[in-house]
């Protein structure tokens, strides 16, 4: 026979696609997590800022 049969390289193909989806998934999830953490930080800081504004505007006790 002049030509060899096509080699079975399906394991490499599966590894390649699994790797691609895992990396993309981790990246999207990391963006979601960072966004959630920043939103929480922003809320906390805004409430702190509002509290400080309230304190400075309220009349002092005699």
């Amino acid at each position: 026979m002049l030509l060899d049969a096509t080699p079975d390289t399906s394991g490499y193909m599966i590894a390649g696609y699994v790797f691609s989806f895992v990396v993309m998934g981790i990246y999207v999830f990391s963006m979601y997590l960072r966004n959630a953490n920043l939103e929480r930080d922003a809320e906390t800081l805004e409430s702190l800022q509002a509290e400080e504004a309230k304190k400075s505007s309220s009349p002092k006790k005699k």
Binding site: P7, Y12, M13, A15, G16, F19, R34, L45
Partner: protein, 231 residues
């Protein structure tokens, strides 16, 4: 945080559909390559991710120039987004290439000009984030980042052109090969999977950049709030 615009919601859905179709075309629709077998199918994602990876590095360089001219922080956010998304995609490109190389070249890695320039490019942009982390002042950070991406951007066309300029074992997909090089030929169905892969990754790239820009705006808002509260 501002609510997500409708266009971004549509782009999210389009990205998921495009990725699903690109995967179907690569794994089912395209025929099996006779010499390499199934592993050749990683080529569709390898090229798609390489395209958006290198494109993003060039876009970041352009955003860097725009920042240096205008001093507008929006260009800085755009630059960071382009670099971050491209670094992730280019990492996938390198690993997919290595997975393909094992059965094709009988090695996971070789210091071929293309592989070497690709590795250097990836390291340049990993170092970009280390540089930014090390600078406290936002204006200085943006200025240094802009100059860095401008210089780093040179690595993208070098990585693209290197297989056309030097003797290399990396096959050429786009353009003509010289006598010493291997030119990858594709059937009609392979071309459909190939070009749709390029399109799909471009849509995903735009979608992720948009999300990363919004994240950058939120980061800036939190940074400003921290300054106000600590004063």
């Amino acid at each position: 945080m501002q609510p997500k615009p409708l266009a971004l919601k549509i782009l999210d859905i389009a990205s998921i559909i495009a990725l699903a179709v690109a995967t179907y075309l690569a794994l089912v629709f395209a025929p099996t390559e006779a010499v390499m077998g199934q592993v050749q199918r990683v080529f569709y994602f390898h090229i798609g991710t390489a395209w958006v990876g290198l494109l993003g590095f060039v876009i970041a360089a352009v955003a860097g120039i725009a920042y240096l001219i205008t001093k507008d922080a929006r260009w800085d956010r755009f630059e960071v987004a382009a670099v971050e998304v491209s670094t992730v995609f280019f990492f996938i490109t390198i690993v997919l290439g290595s997975i393909w190389a094992r059965p094709a070249w009988n090695t996971w890695w070789t210091w071929d000009p293309r592989l070497t320039t690709a590795a250097i490019t990836e390291l340049i942009y990993i170092a970009y984030f280390m540089l930014r982390k090390g600078i406290e002042d936002p204006e200085k950070r943006a200025r240094f980042g802009a100059v860095y991406t401008l210089l780093g951007g040179i690595s993208a066309p070098i990585t693209f052109m290197v297989i056309r300029l030097f003797r290399t074992i990396h096959p050429i997909v786009i353009g003509s090969a010289n006598a010493n090089q291997e030119k990858m030929s594709m059937t009609g169905d392979m071309k459909v999977a190939f070009f749709f892969g390029l399109f799909a990754f471009t849509v995903i790239f735009i979608d992720l950049i948009w999300h990363r820009i919004r994240l950058g705006s939120l980061e800036e808002k939190v940074e400003q709030l921290k300054l106000k509260v600590s004063m």
